[in-house]
Amino acid sequence: MTDTAGTDAFVVRHLSKVFGGAGQVHALSDINLHLKKGSFTCIVGPSGCGKSTLLRILGDLETATSGDVQINFEQTRVPRSAFVFQEHGVFPWFNVLENVAFGQKMASVSKRERESEARNWIAEVGLTGFEDAYPHQLSGGMRQRIAIARAFATGSPSLLMDEPLGALDAQTRILMQEQLVRLWEVERKTVVLVTHSIEEALLLGDQIVVMSARPGRVKEIIDVPFGRPRSVAMEASPEFARMKQDIWESLRDEVQASMSFK
């Protein structure tokens, strides 16, 4: 593994995170990960296991208490990672076009350039015609498409997604999963996606990181064998059902452990 460091986008070594103050919370403990460039990694784990914290550390929104995180992207004017959050990540005072262009605006990309890029991604997520609409005029699914388009339009080599589809209803969620797979297959960025859903992780990921209950550790890393392009239809295959069962078995103890914390 170590000799492939050149192709690894993220290398995490002995990472731990303790939230300070009174009543310290040991969120992450001795995390080791190698994420290849252009790979799609899904992180699953019980609530409160620190998976969002791990994502934030990868994206520089949080610092590690100990251990180190190596990020192997060239430094350009756009941020190395673009985020998609669960909800409320889009700005209500900007219309769709301004929201999607926001990342490049902060990177000082010229107005013409960033708007043309934004229009491309608005078309990719199927929001053409809504450029001038404000987020509150759109449905939850459409707002999440704004957030996803913004992340792609920023032009960062990696995307970090924190339960991007978590707040959507089941049907919209399936459509958005397919859309996300399609977008990623067009432009292979390094993606790390935190999710609660094992199906979602199997459908989207090249590998699945299963985390333990708090303090979060990497319990297991599972390679997803399915070829691409993928679609929701593969959920019907016996292989999919078997893997889902395996991951659930692995996760069940952790979920129980995390519940007994409360």
């Binding site: 941020p79 990540g89 209500p92 990342g103």
Partner: protein
Amino acid sequence: MTVAEGVARRVTELDQAIDQEFKREQRLRARDLGLAILTPIVLLGLWELAAATGVLDARLFSPPSAIGERGAEMVADGSLFVHIWATVGRLAFGFIAGSILGVFAGLIMGVVRPIRAALSPTFTALYALPKIAILPLLLLIFGLTETPKILAVAISVFFVVQINTLAGIMQIDARILESARAYKATGIRLFVNVLLPAAAPAIMTGLRVAAGMSVIVVTAVEFVASNNGLGYLIWNSWQLFQPATMFVGLIVVSVIGALVTGLIIVLERVLLPWRHSNSPKKKESKK
């Protein structure tokens, strides 16, 4: 053919039903508007009648016709405008100065923690002080000039706007801030693209409250420390026992209050289009 005809008939029936529902809604709206206008007219009519028949003492409650007459006289001889301009001038200077400083102070306090720590408790304490109570002090310092009158308005406006602006900054959703941080919004860009628009609704609320308050303060100031303006007009007509003139003053002050508040609401709609564009989703085909 018969099937197609059947479908066509059902479509027309549906269209008619939609059309009827739409017309019903329009009728109801027209009725609401009519009732809203009718109520004050009926009240004025009753007042006129009551004054004419002696149910109301016409020496105290000048009938609407007499008030109208008096108003027309004051418009004709120009005296009304002297008072209106005096009041509007104080209001405008005081309001604009107070709100600009209030927004500025609120924003700085919201962004710079030590300044907030230093000023916030004192400002909160001063906020509770009835601002009109410091008029005598202002008169003492500045004498019977325009300055204390404008300052009294400006100070009242300042505190309301400052507190609302600060609250607007402090109440910004942490998730919005995290999103801004994730996309590397910092410094002046963070301020212009995120903090200011996020706080804008609270700032507008502050301005609206301050607008109503500034009319109260300017009137009260003119009661005691002025020889022109609508407050003076109202106060003076009490002393001279001229109820019709007093009512003219009261009506003009209320109209000014309504106009100022209306102006702020219009301003809000222009400045914050994202809060009001509730029109159905636009779907225009792009060329």
